[in-house]
């Protein structure tokens, strides 16, 4: 059984024309690093939060989300607490916003252990010191007494990671963990995350808009567009030969890391908002291959094509011939 599994998860918010998430399938095995890639507003963060039972207020849901065998959709408070305190933890985008600014770093690290885990203050602090060292912070005893505003963004994100590890989770959910940081710090944080993931055999779901980052740090990649998974493959396959026009568009709009620089080709148009809906493929309006009468009429299912799963009517015809 996979560690994290989404089966046909749909999330609908009142007053919106289309679901935030529409039939999401996604799996993360124990010890596996998986990326979920998409533009802002594609539903990646909602997907990740659903794994902790954090859904937007007023949302109606369909389908299943399980973490280590625990069903989260419609779960009672005890199940939610069990998952949140022992199975899965989340690392948030902006550590400055995610850590209470008026409490000490030590409080942030130990409160879950003391208040929910039933550990003594000394035990919790010993554990916190150990984790601060594990995420590569130079002076753990001092950091315990510091306030968040006394640390840099990169240091604070390490604190955030240490905080996520206090619960000894089997699954780490990382919601754009490096977006709020500068470039060199980004690389350091990703290195810390990957090392911890490998050392501890954690399952990892990395939410990012950066396809190259996803490919560099994860085994498999899911590409999300307008609340649907449109393509999934191993990182190498996806980068070498994207089969969904959207994936191809994402790759074409970022500069290649190696080889001669090429002219970037942005994807025309803007992502579909929550107040719009289309009877056919959500990407059809922006897709240069879209066939009238087909793509704008029926929504494609996620189906095998070229050794992976793709949700595109033309996966077997057009894109297999397009050479990037």
């Amino acid at each position: 059984m996979p560690l994290l599994s989404y089966e046909d998860l749909s999330v609908l918010l009142p007053g919106m024309a289309r679901p935030v998430l529409d039939g999401v399938f996604l799996q993360v095995e124990a010890g596996e690093a998986v990326a979920l890639v998409g533009e802002s507003g594609s539903g990646k963060s909602v997907t990740a939060r659903a794994a902790l039972g954090l859904l937007p207020p007023g949302a109606s849901t369909g389908g299943r989300v399980t973490v280590d065998g625990c069903e989260l959709i419609g779960a009672d408070a005890a199940t939610l607490r069990a998952v949140r305190t022992g199975k899965a933890s989340m690392i948030f985008q902006d550590p400055r916003a995610a850590i209470n600014p008026v409490r000490r770093v030590g409080d942030f690290l130990t409160e879950a252990l003391r208040l929910v885990g039933g550990r003594s203050k000394a035990e919790a602090e010993a554990r916190a010191l150990e984790l601060l060292a594990a995420v590569g912070l130079p002076d753990p005893p001092r950091h315990l007494r510091q306030y968040p505003h006394q640390m840099s963004g990169g240091m604070l994100q390490r604190v955030m990671i240490a905080g996520a590890l206090t619960a000894d989770p089997r699954l780490l959910l990382c919601d754009e963990p490096t977006t709020a940081l500068d470039v060199t710090t980004q690389a350091e944080i990703m290195a810390v995350l990957r090392a911890l993931q490998q050392d501890r055999g954690l399952g990892l779901l990395l939410i990012t808009h950066d396809l190259d980052l996803a490919a560099a740090s994860c085994d498999r990649i899911y590409v999300m567009y307008a609340g649907r998974i449109v393509e999934t493959a191993t990182a190498a396959e996806l980068l070498a030969a994207p089969r969904h026009p959207y994936t191809a568009g994402l790759l074409g709009s970022s500069p290649p890391l190696h080889g001669a620089p090429q002219r970037l080709t942005p994807i025309p148009g803007v992502p579909m908002g929550l107040l719009e809906s289309a009877p056919g493929c959500a990407f059809a309006a922006r897709c240069r291959f879209a066939r009238p009468g087909l793509c704008d009429q029926s929504a494609p299912e996620l189906e095998p094509a070229g050794g992976r799963l793709v949700a595109c009517h033309l996966a077997d015809t057009v894109l297999s011939e397009v050479d990037r």
Binding site: R49, L52, L54, L80, R81, A82, V83, R84, T85, S89, M90, F92, D94, A97, A98, I99, N100, P101, V102, R103, E111, A112, L115, V116, Y147, H149, Q150, G163, A167
Partner: protein
Amino acid sequence: MTSVMTAALRRLLGMAATLLVTSFLVFSSLYLAPGDPAAFLVRGRSPSPDELAAIRQQYGFNDPFPVRYWHWLDGVLHGDFGRSYLFHQSVGEVLWSRLPATLLLVGVSTLMIAVVGIGAGIVGALRRGTRTGSAVLLLVTVGAAVPSFVAAIVLRSVLGVKLGWFPTIGNGTGVLDRLHHVVLPAIALSVTFMALVTRVTRSAMLDELRREHVEVALSRGLPRGTVIRRHVLRNALGPITTVCGLLVSGMLVSTAIVETAFGMSGVGSLLVQCVDELDFQVVQAIVLLVVAAFVVVNTAVDLVYPLIDPRVRAAGGAR
């Protein structure tokens, strides 16, 4: 740590300077007030101009302004606020006899404001959008619009006269009787302030509830009650403390109305009486006392604030 001490010391010096300026303003404003204190002293008789001049001489009314201010300030610094013309006692004795009643009134009101105001604010924030939440908002709007003298009249006539649950006049004797007597005045005094504290608490809580770190705390499996207490209410304490500090001193002023309305003998009703009777020495002392309370409470809030929000500590050190 030394920067914290320096900042505290600076605040205390600032407080002393404020009090000094205040004392000057208080003294000079009464100097400008209409009415001749010498004329008051001889009220009921018709003195000859010579007798009047003698009285002026005796009480130092002829001295130049700075000299009179200096004498008064010197006395105040030694705890001597002068003599009350009205009571033929030292101002200190007059105040001292009236102070306990007022402190009891303000104390009970503060307690009510803290418990009911903050409590209702928390409920209003957590139950926003429900019937309970709307009820809190309605009560806040009504409460803020009720002046204390209106509240006093309504409370007296309904709970005091019609239902007879509470006495309507006087201070009472003995601990329980005093408390019984102070209930209605305390409610009348605190209604407006309570509404203000509720509103501030509610909006501060709502601000904090929206913060991402609250969602993060929930995502870590902390029970909702714990998150509300440790991360929402704790972070909302800053504005709540500030407004409570302002209110305590504001209440001292309002005691003038409430004590008069309930026929209580306290500093507030004393102020009204002495203004009426031109007993300048007492008025000066009371005004100075109220301003001092205001300054002291605000300084205390300033000093406590860095404990509530550590980010202020950093900013204070840099300034």
